[in-house]
Amino acid sequence: MAIDRETVLHVARLARLDLTAAEADRLTLELGAILEAVSKVAELDLTDVPPTSHPLDLVNVWADDEPRPSLALDEALANAPAREGDLFRVPPTHGPEVSA
């Protein structure tokens, strides 16, 4: 099953990966081969088979709704690449320099 370069770039955008041109070329070939292999699952008629999302019988595990200690602010921010006060600092998400 082939996948074209345009689709690869669309998926990369969904996945928030700024692929280089060389990466996009290589992934077009590699993903084509992998998709060919995994498409094997389509051979089976599974209309009456329910899906499995995980192997346990657990349904709705509840925890008591009681406050308990969590990470201190400085710990939560300790690994941040950029911090401003008590916040994670990031580049602009809106504004004139942000295109749609």
């Binding site: 969904l14 993903l31 992998i34 094997k40 300790a78 941040a80």
Partner: protein
């Protein structure tokens, strides 16, 4: 003089209890062994020089968060990340008195079968350093096999404990899904990931499993163990019914030496009193790989969305938020995580979800039913763990599908959530061969009993020949 190549964790514990050595002396011995041999093996990404604890030291795979000790999951996107809390499994090891020797190498985000996908370079097999130690937990396996740790923890999504244990001649357990907490463990595929022990003996693996297993309130997918963990003592398999999937004999790519070692192990089991029969896992062998390589990448694409250059890890500066995230991710992830993120995103995207991810989830149901039927008729299932012995570094690195094929026999039981134990069954071409035993859900004690009886009868020397 502490012989780190031969000393088991139980042996180390006995030395501590009889006051012949201290925990700190043991820790120093393993750190010194790493100093002498890890330049060649690259089992560790970093050593922890300060020994804290009174027990047997341990190596932890670098997907396990360790407070104050850098944890990278083998990825550049977590370079410099220093956790501010311990993973539950790390905390339980520390509570049991175990000092940490170091953090072991792994394929990036535990994605791979050779450690060649580590952003920090591969580890090498102590039996033959021109060969891979398996993966993704090749660092832990190489550390245990090479005498750089008495035991260690790995993580297993589709074979990352069992396969490197096979290639390095160790005992390794992938526990039943839900028995060991993943809190603080860097996530790959959450419906599959399990943490488990690697050691030189089945009893050591059982002991370490007893320490890490059990419900954790911080991981809602964990359950209480239905029975306490028992260290095995009996050297018999009387009455144990072992099923061999008939598909094993027709599997393409299985090496003659691996097959011979497997056949010998089965005869040994028979001589110990086991009843050997044939079971049937046709869909597992034919569709297991395809099912896994849809479900695992789909979950990975979701789990790895958190690496965005905002809360941790290096950031590529860019004028806008979106460009920063996209450039940080492209620079930070290596080729294999990118392949799996792309594959998973595609499989989950509009128009393809039902045909790929939904279909794979249905195949998974059939694989679970197939295993349940086999384990109704048999107490355990046995297969070789890996179709091949350790392969040369570089041999499969350029071919993702050839690398994925390493896990053809370890994957199906992972999808079914079942426990699997690797024990060494012998040598082929001078390299270890692994026997995989699969048990029913929560059947760890049965695996330990069978594994121990076989281990005693096989008498495999876990010290690599060239290091004896």
């Amino acid at each position: 003089m502490i012989d780190t190549l031969r000393l088991t964790a139980e042996g180390a514990l006995a030395l501590i209890e009889s006051r012949e050595v201290t925990s700190a002396e043991l820790h120093a011995a393993y750190v010194a062994a790493a100093g002498a041999r890890d330049e060649e093996l690259h089992a560790y990404l970093r050593l922890v020089d300060a020994a804290e604890g009174t027990g047997v030291p341990i190596a932890l795979k670098d997907v396990i968060s360790t407070k104050g000790v850098e944890t990278t999951a083998g990825s550049k996107i977590l370079a410099g990340y220093v956790p501010v809390f311990d993973a539950t499994v790390a905390a339980r090891c520390k509570a049991a008195g175990m000092p940490i020797i170091g953090k072991t190498n792994t394929d990036e985000f535990a994605m791979g079968s050779s450690t060649e996908n580590s952003a920090y370079g591969p580890s090498f097999n102590p039996w033959d350093p021109t060969r891979v130690p398996g993966g993704s937990g090749g660092g832990t396996a190489a550390a245990v096999s090479g005498g750089l740790a008495p035991w260690g923890l790995g993580s297993d999504t589709g074979g990352s404990i069992k396969q490197p244990s096979a290639l390095c001649g160790n005992v390794g357990l992938r526990p039943t899904y839900g028995t060991v907490s993943r809190f603080g463990v860097v996530a790959f595929a959450s419906s599959l990931d399990q943490v488990g022990p690697v050691a030189k003996t089945v009893r050591d693996v059982a002991l370490l499993y007893s320490i890490i297993a059990g419900r954790d309130e911080n991981d809602s997918t964990t359950v209480e163990l239905p029975e306490i963990v028992e260290l095995p003592t009996a050297e018999t398999l009387a009455g144990v019914r072992i099923g061999i999937p008939k598909q094993v004999w027709d599997l393409a790519g299985i090496e003659p030496g691996v097959r011979a070692s497997f056949e010998t192990a089965i005869e040994t089991a028979r001589s110990l009193g086991a009843e050997i029969g044939e079971c049937d896992l046709p869909l597992s062998f034919d569709y297991g790989m395809a099912c896994y390589y849809l479900i695992a990448p789909a979950e990975a694409s979701s789990n790895l969305a958190r690496f965005d250059g905002v809360r941790y890890g290096p950031r590529v500066d860019a004028p806008t938020y979106r460009e920063m995230v996209e450039q940080t991710r492209d620079a930070g992830f290596g080729d294999e995580p990118k392949r799996r993120i792309m594959l998973g995103t595609y499989a989950l995207s509009a128009g393809y979800y039902d045909a790929f991810y939904g279909q794979a989830q249905r195949v998974r149901t059939l694989l679970m039913r197939e295993h349940r039927a086999a384990l109704d008729a048999f107490d355990l299932i046995a297969t070789p763990t890996s179709p091949t012995v350790a392969f040369p570094v570089g041999e499969r690195a350029a071919d993702p599908l050839a690398m994925y094929a390493c896990d053809v026999m370890t994957i199906p039981s992972c999808l079914a959530g079942l426990p699997g134990l690797n024990i060494p069954s012998g040598l082929s071409e001078g390299l270890p061969v692994g026997l995989q035993l699969i048990g029913p859900q929560f059947g760890e004690n049965a695996l330990f009993r069978a594994g121990y009886a076989l281990e005693c009868a096989i008498g495999f020397d876990t010290v690599p020949e060239r290091l004896r």
